[in-house]
């Protein structure tokens, strides 16, 4: 055997060993994901095609389809289906946009160093760090029509108490000229979304702002560009990639969000989103098959929206 051949063999042996070692290390993680995410995912599809009820859950089949479309018929013909879908989109789109705009605003305000910036930067993360359960309940109490602080102030300025989380549509008088009906509870939930998740956008945008080179801005300054001009023509274009990633992430996560709406309103007053409806089917009506079917519909809609987003709106980071 020649020398080089021996070397090559030794090398490929090393490689094989490295490969085996790598697989051994990652194996537990792969098993966890396969058993607890991938397998359930496929089983969810199977469940959505069989009639499964909470009461006879022990009879639910692990494999095999009844090939019934009744679950989908029930879910799609439910009188709440389209309103819920519409609410979900409004909640997701406006909630995502609001949190990103607030995050952008906060990042711009905290961009340059000042005394106490480190402290303010830490405090601003609170809404995101506090457990959702505590955040939702404080809002509930703050907005309580009987003793909440918001209504104390409204009444102090001569208004009448408003039940923010319990009013489906509120007649808002615009300068006494005309009245406009607004979906108050839904708007309140969206504002909560903006409040709770702006720190997430803030962190990303601040990091992006601070990694930007200052040369272009300085050049623009020398050329006499004002603050607003620098913002529109330099900062915003440079932030496009991070803003578009943020919107995608926030959209996906808000679309799937259950806790926030459930804890704030329980899905009442025109705020029911798909995830709350799924839990409704499961625990409220004990209809596992319908819950699985609606879950599948949620995943498909989300997949389509994300695919469309990538096709038409996503700005790739070219830097």
């Amino acid at each position: 055997m020649s020398d080089t051949k021996l070397k090559r063999q030794k090398k490929s042996g090393l490689k094989r060993r490295e490969s085996r070692f790598g697989l051994a290390l990652i194996l537990p993680a792969v098993i966890v994901v396969l058993l607890l995410v991938i397998l359930p995912l496929f089983w969810n599809i199977a469940l959505s095609f069989q009639s499964a009820r909470l009461i006879n859950i022990q009879d639910v089949k692990l494999v095999g389809f009844d090939a019934t479309l009744r679950n989908f018929e029930r879910v799609l013909s439910d009188r709440e289906f389209w309103p819920v879908l519409r609410t979900t989109f409004i909640y997701t789109i406006f909630g995502s946009i609001l949190s990103i705009l607030m995050g952008l605003w906060a990042a711009l305000a905290l961009r340059k160093a000042f005394r106490g910036r480190a402290i303010v930067r830490g405090l601003v993360l609170f809404p995101y760090v506090v457990p959702v359960i505590a955040a939702a309940f404080v809002w509930q109490v703050m907005l309580n029509p009987n003793f909440g602080i918001t209504n104390v102030w409204i009444e102090r300025f001569g208004g009448t108490a408003i039940d923010f989380l319990g009013t489906k549509s509120y007649d808002l008088s615009v300068f006494g000229i005309f009245t406009m009906s607004i979906p108050l509870a839904l708007i309140t939930v969206i504002v909560f979304e903006g409040w709770r998740y702006f720190p997430f956008a803030f962190l990303f945008i601040l990091a992006a702002l601070q990694s930007q080179s200052e040369e272009i801005e300085e050049a623009a300054l020398v050329d006499g560009a004002t603050i607003s001009q620098r913002f529109w023509y330099i900062t915003i274009p440079a932030l496009k990639p991070v803003l578009s990633v943020l919107f995608l992430l926030r959209f996906i996560w808000t679309f799937n969000k259950f806790d926030d709406v459930f804890l704030l309103t329980g899905g009442g007053a025109g705020t029911k989103v798909i995830t709350v409806k799924i839990v409704d089917w499961l625990l409220g009506r004990g209809d596992v098959g319908a819950a699985a079917a609606l879950g599948l519909i949620l995943a498909v809609i989300l997949g389509v929206v994300v695919a469309l987003y990538f096709k038409f709106f996503y700005v790739e980071d070219t830097a």
Partner: protein
């Protein structure tokens, strides 16, 4: 005054207004929560504008005592929920770190068949709707008879925190110079020895941050707890315990006391490790 001067002045003022605004909206709800948690409900109802508690009320801890007292003594039994949450969260941290460190090391350092597919798949899992996975898991765990247990929660929390942990740790492992590990191998350490004696000690800050982060996720989780252990009060986690206080018969001041109890450890941990956590958040694109 030129436009430029005008804008300098305007935005200079707006900047400070914004800083004050963001500080208030971030801090005020917590202050309000803390204040109300000490207030007797009758007093709040008669005069809602007077929401600040007196020193005496603060030191009497009335609402907290009621919330923490066992159900048998007319309380809400929160000590049990605290214990359950602490157990579940701690076990989740240990298992997630054990599985996550090994997997992240493999992806960061080693070449093996299917590496790319596996690491991309695990990240994608992270974007997947939890609700969709929760229904089949609910049925699956019911069928094998482990659904109504803390083990069931530990298992699903491991699955839901693993992708984040892997993603954050991988980034950190990649930033450790490979030469340090090679030196260890030259000194006769086995591959496992290199991980134990060199990589893990060097990555300790990141591991601690990921651990804290996983703890927070498990501590705050609500949906799985609701689906899995709702019917067995002895197994309730803190989030379920606080949610049960959201009820017409329970004074809202107790709801606030419960909210303070669930928030305290999280805020404390956040103060301890703010720097790590914020870096981790941006690096891992953490879910919320």
């Amino acid at each position: 005054m030129t436009r430029s001067e005008f804008e300098e002045k305007l935005f200079g003022v707006l900047k400070w207004i914004s800083i004050v605004f963001f500080t208030i909206i971030s801090l005020f709800p917590l202050v309000y929560m803390l204040a109300l948690s000490f207030k007797p409900i009758a007093e709040l109802l008669t005069n809602p504008a007077q929401w600040w508690p007196s020193l005496e009320q603060v030191f009497s801890f009335e609402t907290y005592k009621a919330v923490l007292r066992p159900v048998g003594e007319g309380g809400f039994g929160f000590t049990v929920f605290i214990k359950n949450s602490a157990i579940v969260a701690t076990v989740t941290v240990i298992t997630t770190l054990a599985v996550g460190i090994l997997a992240a090391y493999a992806v960061a350092r080693l070449n093996f068949f299917g590496k790319k597919t596996i690491s991309v798949a695990i990240i994608l899992v992270y974007l997947f709707p939890v609700v969709v996975v929760s229904i089949p898991l609910f049925v699956m765990f019911s069928r094998i008879g482990i659904r109504s247990s803390l083990y069931a929660l530990m298992i699903v929390y491991l699955a839901s925190t693993l992708p984040v942990a892997m993603y954050m740790l991988r980034g950190y492992f990649q930033s450790i110079p490979a030469s340090l590990e090679e030196a260890g191998q030259v000194d006769g350490l086995s591959r496992m020895g290199v991980i134990r004696k060199i990589t893990i000690p060097l990555a300790m800050p990141a591991i601690a941050a990921v651990g804290l982060y996983v703890f927070m996720i498990a501590w705050n989780e609500f949906l799985y707890a609701l689906l899995f252990v709702l019917e067995n009060r002895d197994l309730w986690t803190l989030s379920l315990g606080v949610a049960q206080l959201d009820n017409q018969e329970v004074p809202k001041t107790m709801l606030m006391a419960g909210s303070v109890i669930i928030s305290l450890p999280v805020i404390f941990l956040f103060f301890v490790a703010e720097k790590f956590l914020t870096e981790g958040l941006t690096a891992g694109g953490v879910k919320g």
